[in-house]
């Protein structure tokens, strides 16, 4: 089923991005300075990983409250392994990613096998992972981060494109390919759309749920690791403020929370909208405390728009049928 391009999920958010960039750059030309673009891209790169991590769970019609806790745990594991055990950074990164996958699988197994709502399971695991994080670090950051990692977290490979944008683009392409071209991705969306129907058509719902949570853990862990490079230290508080953002971006991108419908491009644009709005508050010296309010209002606005589109689509199909 092909849709006209202005009816796609990403068209609305894209317009918002274009208009916002145009308006802001007229009001304040320094918005489009290479340095500002670099800062913007750095924020987008990390936040996109966080948003994707939640998006894949929204796709199966669940929610993952422990995204931030998994990211934080992986981040301090990454930094801790380098500082305490002297493990070279690529190996530490791989181990930290594996830890994220493990944490995600634990979520997925508990949800799939017990049938208890993902909300309760991930609320419990959020607390477990965060507790382990605090238990290991005793709320003290790891400071000894290799210069290579610090460089990768902040420098550009091609001015003004930062290194961190590479894993983000890679993740976006792979996720798009997964959800639109691979049988597994279609199964994920099918489970989100109608779990019972998916089960009856031969999809192993349990396996799909576990895999989706594993991917979510992997993405959350990569966001945590990227933040260690960006902040140049292994902060135990990494991940504490991810929850709102992780839902805001996919929802702005047109994701339906009951599952079965997500958009990678839309989510990426959602992240960009959040990043631009946050930047604007800084550029125009508006109180940074208002970021939280803006995020909340964006969520309300986006779910309202999605709801409107849903209702209109239903009406439209009803008209066509009659």
């Amino acid at each position: 089923m092909s849709r006209r391009f202005w009816e796609t999920d990403w068209f609305g958010p894209l317009m918002v991005v274009v208009v916002a960039v145009a308006v802001v750059s007229i009001l304040n030309p320094s918005f489009l300075s290479p340095f500002n673009i670099q800062v913007l891209l750095l924020a987008i790169a990390v936040n996109a990983m966080i948003a994707f991590s939640q998006m894949i769970i929204i796709a199966i019609g669940q929610m993952n409250l422990s995204v931030g806790a998994i990211g934080g745990l992986s981040a301090i594991a990454f930094a801790g392994m380098m500082e305490v055990w002297g493990i070279p950074w690529p190996i530490a990164a791989i181990l930290a990613l594996a830890l994220g996958v493990l944490a995600g699988v634990a979520n997925g197994v508990l949800v799939a096998l017990t049938g208890i709502s993902a909300f309760v399971i991930t609320l419990a695991s959020l607390s477990v992972y965060k507790g382990v994080n605090l238990g290991i670090t005793e709320a003290q950051p790891f400071y000894k981060i290799p210069d290579v990692v610090k460089g990768l977290g902040n420098d550009t490979f091609l001015h003004p494109l930062p290194w961190l944008i590479i894993p983000c683009v890679l993740a976006a392409l792979l996720l798009w390919y997964l959800l639109n071209r691979l049988p597994l991705g279609r199964s994920i969306l099918a489970v989100g759309g109608n779990e019972h129907a998916a089960e009856l058509s031969g999809i192993s719902v349990r396996r799909v749920v576990i895999v989706a949570h594993a991917i979510s853990g992997l993405l959350a862990a990569s966001a945590g690791i990227m933040l260690v490079g960006r902040l140049q230290l292994g902060q135990p508080t990494i991940g504490d403020d991810w929850l709102i953002l992780s839902f805001a971006a996919p929802v702005i991108g047109g994701a339906i929370l009951s599952g079965g419908h997500v958009s990678v491009a839309g989510t990426l644009l959602g992240v960009a909208i959040v990043a631009i709005f946050t930047q604007v508050l800084v550029l125009f010296n508006i109180d940074p405390f208002l970021v939280q309010v803006v995020l909340g209002v964006l969520i309300l606005w986006a779910v309202g728009v999605n709801r409107f589109r849903e209702v209109r689509a239903l009406k439209h199909s009803a008209q066509v049928a009659s």
Partner: protein, 346 residues
């Protein structure tokens, strides 16, 4: 799905009347409330043998005072859970109500009863706003309260410039620090009274029964003439008031209204808010409530936290234990339920 013990439910009574006192006894023994009581006694014995300081007058007093707040937080979530929804913004609303109460006392020098009413009105208003948006949009309460949690907290931080109100009326502070009979905090009495009122609401009033009916089956409730939208709004309003009570209790205890008292966006209240009702046997899908269960559940959680801190097993690991407790609680509940179903006790 008939009620066990003190639980109340709306639904079809069991097809067969389980006969014999033995079955009734078994049912009481397998009820959540009884299980919680056993656990509370068991852990009280364990903690007091390991560390005699657990039973000291001050320790018991502190336990009652801390659990009073956690019980109110649990109630605040409970009244929304019964409609089958959630309220992620309990922490945010609690802090906003507390800050507003603090503002009235400090900046407007209002007498404390008036300021408390103001704070509670703020809680009610924010809760009602949640309810209004939810029923008007027809969206799930999860995403709405996630957004409002961020908005309420953000506006509060913006208006207060993240500064505390420390000029709290001494009469109000002494209420939170008073000791009745040496060991009982008046705050605990507030929670007990709130619990009794909620029990009466759900057991004896039409409004309470309508709330449960709406949670059990919204469509059926609507068809039988209940204005479900209004009921859902009331539930959220009540949740806001109860969150406000919890927030003001904290002000009275610490002697200051502090914006960070519930953590970033009030997230620190989420776990205690769910632990109490879930341990107490309130169904997350709605329609069933156990006020006594929530009370005992929140009390047990506070006792475990206090006891573990006293045993010095590492305060940093506390969150892990609480998370594991929530997991254990839902798993045990699942096993218990399937056992009861198999034995045809439900």
């Amino acid at each position: 799905m008939s009620g066990t013990g003190k639980e109340q439910s709306v639904g079809i009574p069991p097809a067969e009347q389980a006969s014999g006192a033995r079955l009734t006894t078994l049912r009481i023994l397998l009820s959540n409330e009884f299980g919680l009581l056993v656990l509370i006694v068991l852990f009280a014995i364990i903690f007091s043998t390991i560390s005699p300081a657990f039973l000291s007058k001050f320790s018991l007093y502190a336990l009652g005072r801390t659990s009073a707040v956690n019980i109110m937080i649990g109630f605040s979530m409970m009244v929304v859970i019964i409609t089958g929804g959630l309220n992620l913004s309990v922490g945010s609303i609690g802090v906003c109500a507390a800050m507003f109460g603090g503002l009235l006392m400090q900046a407007f020098a209002m007498p404390w009863p008036l300021a408390v009413c103001g704070g509670l009105a703020m809680g009610a208003a924010l809760g009602a706003l949640n309810g209004f948006i939810i029923v008007r949009s027809g969206l799930h309460s999860f995403i709405i309260t996630l957004a409002t949690m961020s908005i309420f907290f953000g506006v509060m931080i913006f208006l207060t410039r993240a500064e505390s109100y420390r000029d709290i009326s001494p009469a109000f502070t002494s209420f939170g620090r008073m000791k009745l009979a040496g060991i009982i905090s008046p705050l605990l009495l507030v929670s007990v009274v709130a619990g009794i009122l909620l029990s009466v609401l759900f057991r004896y009033t039409a409004l309470g029964r309508e709330m449960l009916a709406t949670g059990a089956n919204e469509r059926a409730a609507e068809l039988s003439g209940i204005r479900v939208h209004r009921i859902i709004t009331y539930c959220h309003l009540l949740s806001g008031v109860l969150a406000g009570v919890a927030g003001l209790m904290l002000v009275s205890r610490t002697g200051a209204a502090i914006p960070s008292m519930a953590g970033q966006l009030g997230q620190d209240w989420l776990l205690p808010a769910f632990l109490g009702p879930v341990l107490g046997g309130t169904l997350l899908t709605g329609g069933r409530v156990s006020v006594l269960g929530t009370f005992l559940g929140s009390f047990l959680v506070t006792m475990l936290t206090t006891g573990l801190l006293l045993m010095q097993v590492g305060a940093f690991w506390m969150q892990t234990y609480l998370g594991l407790l929530l997991l254990a609680a839902v798993l045990i509940d699942m096993v218990r339920r399937s056992y009861l179903t198999r034995r045809k006790l439900i």
